[in-house]
Amino acid sequence: MIRVVLPAPLYRMAGIEGAGELAFDVAAPVTQRTVLDAVEARYPMLRGAIRDHDTKKRRPFIRFYACEDDLSFAELDDPLPAEVVDGREPYLVIGAIAGG
């Protein structure tokens, strides 16, 4: 299972109780695109909240991290680290710290 952590407001937006990790079955290849596709498939109200509806470009104040690396500028179709694929590490969607 792929573990995913979202920013707290997205849990509220999706009506998810609590703010823990989510888990998804994602078929290979496991990439940022396929993981985000899985998130949006289960929670369609999050379409447009993490990335653009059409271009799939990351929203400006969103970042993607995993295994202590910033994947925000990596190719969406690159394979995710093995630790994410086998569930040892979560894939993190981060809301930028802004506003003081």
Binding site: P9, M45, R47, A49, D54, G95
Partner: protein, 371 residues
């Protein structure tokens, strides 16, 4: 039992305030969508239990929420607003061309006749329509296709389409306003539009009487007389008696004619309300006094309404969508401030009291009169 439901959009959530017709005791529900900018909430005149809300976030973008039980529960509907065709460019603040980019929904205007039809005014300025209760949206692109779009420019708050008025006597006719493009009218249900700006004068424009570029803050009319329009422009309070074909100034004796809100009494078509704001660089009420000004003569002669409102050390603003009137026999007038107060006057403006005093900064106020 008759009563009112006041829908308040704030910078950190939406609130629903309800009262009976006396408008003395209030129930406050919310915040809904806590932490999000709620730009606007408005109920359907056809089905008052159906309410639409625009939820916006700089981080997470746009959501449109819909309630079918009078605001008790909500569900998200479609949030995809795609411009029709190649969006093209408008002017940026520095005068250079800038591509049209969707940012948020400023205003949701439900149809007067169909509970599933609702219009959305968005930034960057465009008009969208849904005929399925918000489940899908399409642009009424004749507005941007008018040809003047490359000369539209954003005001300080963005290039927003913030006012949508549907003519109750002619549903094919609508009026919209954009900061800072001006005002437009359609007579064919939104297929084509014409600027209605003759008589407007904006000193900040290279050509002060230009067809487009005016920073119109708000337009209002009385339902019985929709050919008579009242406008609060960046500066100047204006009036038109021919559906916007020609405007003339009615600022009269106002202490300052800068402001955002304007509205009309529910039963008196010539009674108009504004809240003067000090200036375009001092966005707070004049002289530290929160005063609503009322004209009972359709403009020019204005009287300050102060009973129950703070008259010293007050420096709040009242934003363009933050005033509304109910249709009870004694017309109620409502407005919300950037300081988080929502005021009601149950007697047409003679006296005021705060319904709530410590909400987040208020972006919009609408009221539903319930039977």
């Amino acid at each position: 039992m008759r009563g009112v439901r006041v829908l308040v959009g704030t910078h950190k959530g939406g609130f629903v305030l309800t009262s009976d017709a006396k408008r003395e005791k209030w129930q406050v529900d919310g915040p809904f969508f806590a932490g999000f900018d709620i730009y606007h909430m408005k109920g359907s005149p056809v089905n008052p239990d159906r309410i639409y809300a625009s939820q916006s976030s700089g981080w997470f973008g746009q959501q449109v929420q819909r309630s079918d039980d009078g605001g008790k529960t909500w569900q998200p509907v479609d949030n995809k607003f795609t411009y029709d065709g190649v969006p093209g460019t408008h002017q940026w603040y520095d005068g250079t061309p800038h591509p049209w980019e969707f940012k948020r929904v400023w205003h949701l205007e439900p149809s007067l006749t169909d509970g599933d039809t609702v219009f959305a005014g968005v930034e960057d300025a465009a008009m969208f329509k849904s005929t399925d209760g918000g489940k899908s949206w399409h642009e009424l692109s004749g507005l941007r296709g008018h040809g003047t779009g490359p000369r539209w420019a954003p005001g300080a708050g963005g290039m927003c389409l913030h006012t949508i008025l549907i003519d109750p006597k002619n549903p094919q006719r609508m009026f919209i306003a954009i900061s800072a493009a001006g005002a437009f009218r359609t007579d064919d249900g939104g297929a084509t539009w014409k600027p209605i700006t003759k008589g407007l004068h904006s000193g900040f424009l290279p050509e002060p009487t230009a067809e487009v570029g005016h920073c119109v803050h708000r337009i209002a009319f009385h339902r019985s007389n929709p050919d008579t329009l009242f406008m609060q422009k960046h500066w100047d309070v204006m009036r038109s008696d021919n559906a916007g074909d020609q405007w003339h100034e009615v600022s009269g004796n106002l202490p300052t004619d800068f402001g955002f809100v304007i509205d009309v009494h529910a039963h008196e078509p010539e009674t108009v309300y504004v809240i003067p704001i000090t200036s375009d660089s001092e966005h707070y009420v004049h002289e530290g006094k929160l005063r609503v000004y009322r004209s009972k003569s359709g403009g020019n002669e204005w009287e300050p309404l102060t009973k129950g409102l703070p008259q010293q050390n007050c420096y709040v603003n009242v934003l363009r969508d933050a005033m509304a009137v109910d249709t009870l026999d004694d017309c109620g007038v409502y407005f919300g401030t950037t300081g988080g107060q929502v005021y009601v006057s149950p007697d047409g403006g003679d006296t005021w009291r705060a319904i709530v005093e410590h909400l987040p900064s208020v972006l919009s106020v609408e009221v539903q009169t319930l039977s």
